[in-house]
């Protein structure tokens, strides 16, 4: 029985996919595959573009594993490796280099190299005509290119024009983001909040223009996104002030080169922006649809239906951001626990910032629901009075 249903299912899919793979789609698919192969050929043969020496592992000889144990009774094993490698760029290209490497079973900062791996080298030096060096990390650009290509191809082939616009929006936003980072560095980190809230506003306008076009819908969504995010940040900052930032460990923030607190607020702002936009545009779309079906719909009705749509979206959206923010703390939390720290200390030093970020973003996502419903109701109501 089940297999019959599945074969029916597969038949349906085939008929649909044949329908969908119209001529332009077929060209797109073929084009993307050719592009992907070319990109992969380029990225596997681009060693000469790098300044740092790159070598490929030809053969490996592993030593005996040494048992290590720390004061917390964590048992691990360390192994010495001698890699004979061949240089792939620079003036000594093609020459043999001997690389000493040590790796452990858990591989936190180190890693085991295998035959065929390409790696960066540091401290390349010549002694008695023999080259030796230290390993300085795997060459990872091939993975990046492969995965990006896979995602872009699936995006364009399954989502068509909508996928194209989504891709353009991501690319433009990345460029804007990099621009803002360089402006921030130019100002030596003063005005962080001003720079990144301006950036957030531009992000919102660009993304919404690309998704919705220059319409009334877009204006309503924009208004709601800006209002919801601003109010949430203000509430968040107020609560943090009132409670004297108790239990919030800014010093645990990673990769900080500037004053941590404004940077953290800017991170919250950017992090929640997409989710608030997502939700607002869903609600606005529903309200416009209701208005189209029944032009006589009252403001109160519009507001109530906006709220009921928002109610069911907000929970999953808050969870999306929460899981993104918290997954990043997973590895370091494990390390803290393994170093004999208590659950409370581990939480404070690793998860407190992610938690604050999730909570303030959550407040923004929830507050945007009444704001966007109200804006939509007012906007569409006024139109019917004309």
């Amino acid at each position: 029985m089940n297999s019959k249903i599945w074969s029916d299912c597969i038949k349906e899919v085939k008929s649909v996919s044949i329908l969908q793979l119209s001529r332009p789609k077929k060209y797109l698919l073929v084009g993307m595959i050719i592009f992907g192969v070319l990109a992969l050929i380029f990225v596997t043969h681009n060693q000469s573009l790098y300044q740092r020496p790159i070598a490929q592992v030809v053969s490996v000889s592993n030593g005996q594993a040494q048992r290590t144990e720390d004061e917390f009774k964590n048992v691990d094993h360390q192994t010495e490796q001698v890699l004979s490698t061949r240089l792939m760029n620079g003036k000594d290209r093609g020459k043999k280099v001997t690389v000493q490497n040590t790796y452990s079973d858990s591989q936190p900062l180190d890693q085991q190299y295998r035959v065929g791996n390409q790696l960066f080298l540091s401290q390349l030096k010549e002694k008695d005509g023999k080259l030796s060096a230290n390993p300085a990390g795997l060459k990872r650009d091939t993975v990046v290119v492969f995965l990006s290509w896979l995602v872009i191809m699936i995006l364009l082939v399954t989502m068509g024009r909508a996928g194209g616009f989504a891709l353009i929006s991501v690319v433009i936003n990345t460029i804007l983001f990099l621009l803002a980072v360089s402006i921030d560095l130019h100002n030596q980190g003063s005005h962080v909040l001003l720079i990144f809230s301006t950036l957030a506003l531009i992000f919102t306008i660009v993304s919404l223009l690309l998704v919705l076009g220059p319409t009334k819908k877009m204006l309503a969504t924009l208004g709601a996104t800006v209002a919801g995010t601003t109010v949430a940040i203000l509430i968040g900052v107020l609560v943090l002030q009132l409670t004297n930032n108790r239990g919030v460990y800014y010093e645990s923030m990673q990769y900080v080169t500037q004053v941590p607190r404004p940077l953290f607020i800017a991170e919250i702002l950017l992090g929640s922006l997409g989710a608030v936009m997502d939700e607002s545009s869903d609600i606005v779309a529903t309200l416009f649809e209701l208005k189209r079906i029944d032009p006589q719909v009252s403001r109160l009705q519009l507001f109530m239906s906006g709220r009921s749509v928002g109610k069911s979206i907000m929970g999953p959206l808050v969870n999306v951001l929460f899981l993104i923010f918290m997954a990043d703390t997973f590895t370091s939390s494990l390390l803290y626990l393994k170093n004999g720290n208590s659950w409370g200390y581990t939480f404070n030093m690793n998860m407190s910032l992610g938690m604050v970020q999730s909570l303030i973003s959550g407040i923004g996502i929830v507050l945007a629901v009444p704001v966007v419903s109200l804006l939509g109701a007012l906007l569409l109501g006024r139109r019917s009075n004309k």
Partner: protein, 257 residues
């Protein structure tokens, strides 16, 4: 009162004010997800195999997010099944990609934070990084599966006689409507956390070549791309599951007659 408790209470208040009973349930799902996430770390600390933890935690978090987010069983069960299929596919992909990229553990930029720590803990960081990447994508998968499944349920309600291929087309159509904003949610969600890392890279004048081979950057980028891929896979798979479940429902009703 600590800031986190205060912010939590504010969130609870606005959620209940705006969403009523559903708001309360959303808050509860957040709490439960946090509990299971922390529990997952503790299990790995106790040397439970990370892959086992990944799968069980993954299924539990998906179930919490989906079943506590909606009431309609037709929507939620379909969304749950399809998100499980996507989860299975993604786990294979993530294992493959992370063994290729080797971005587990920490990078050279983390060395300040690691000072005084014993980092050789005897647990494979590679396996742990698979767990972390899977967890970061769960929310996105659940949300997309629910959006598609809710839309399809509505189509089925208004047009019960619609053909299967039309239904799949409908699912893809809903996918096209949500893809732009969903990718934005993920993009901003991840880039929010990128900010300080990027300022670091730019401040120390990392070259393009250094950034695209940097362990931390590549790890973050893999998380983003895998989440995108998760959403993209969810669209057709949810449509297919809906077609299949609809057939089962129809068969059952004819058999009992």
């Amino acid at each position: 009162m600590s800031s986190i408790t205060a912010l939590g209470l504010v969130l609870l208040c606005v959620m209940v004010l705006v969403g009523g009973k559903q708001g309360w349930r959303s808050f509860l799902s957040l709490l439960l997800n946090f509990g299971f996430l922390f529990f997952a770390i503790v299990l790995i600390e106790l040397h439970v195999p990370p892959m086992f933890v990944t799968i069980t935690t993954g299924v539990i978090i998906l179930a919490i997010t989906i079943f506590m987010g909606e009431d309609d069983l037709r929507t939620t069960v379909t969304a749950f099944y399809s998100s499980l299929i996507v989860l299975a596919l993604l786990i294979f992909l993530i294992v493959f990609i992370s063994h290729w990229a080797m971005v587990q553990g920490f990078g050279a930029e983390d060395s300040d934070d690691l000072e005084g720590m014993s980092i050789l803990i005897g647990i494979s960081y590679l396996k742990v990084s698979v767990t972390a990447i899977v967890i970061s994508t769960l929310g996105a998968i659940a949300e997309a599966a629910m959006a598609i499944s809710a839309g399809l349920t509505e189509i089925l309600e208004t047009h019960p006689q619609i053909s299967n291929s039309r239904l799949i087309e409908g699912g893809m159509g809903i996918g096209r409507q949500i893809i732009g904003t969903t990718l934005n949610t993920l993009f901003f969600g991840f880039f929010g956390g990128f900010l300080s890392l990027f300022i670091w890279f730019a401040g120390l004048h990392y070259s393009f070549g250094m950034i695209f081979n940097n362990k931390i950057f590549v790890a973050e980028l893999i998380e983003i791309l895998i989440s995108f891929l998760g959403v993209l896979l969810t669209v057709p798979i949810t449509s297919l599951v809906m077609v299949r479940r609809r057939n089962l429902l129809v068969d059952k009703s004819t058999e009992t007659k």
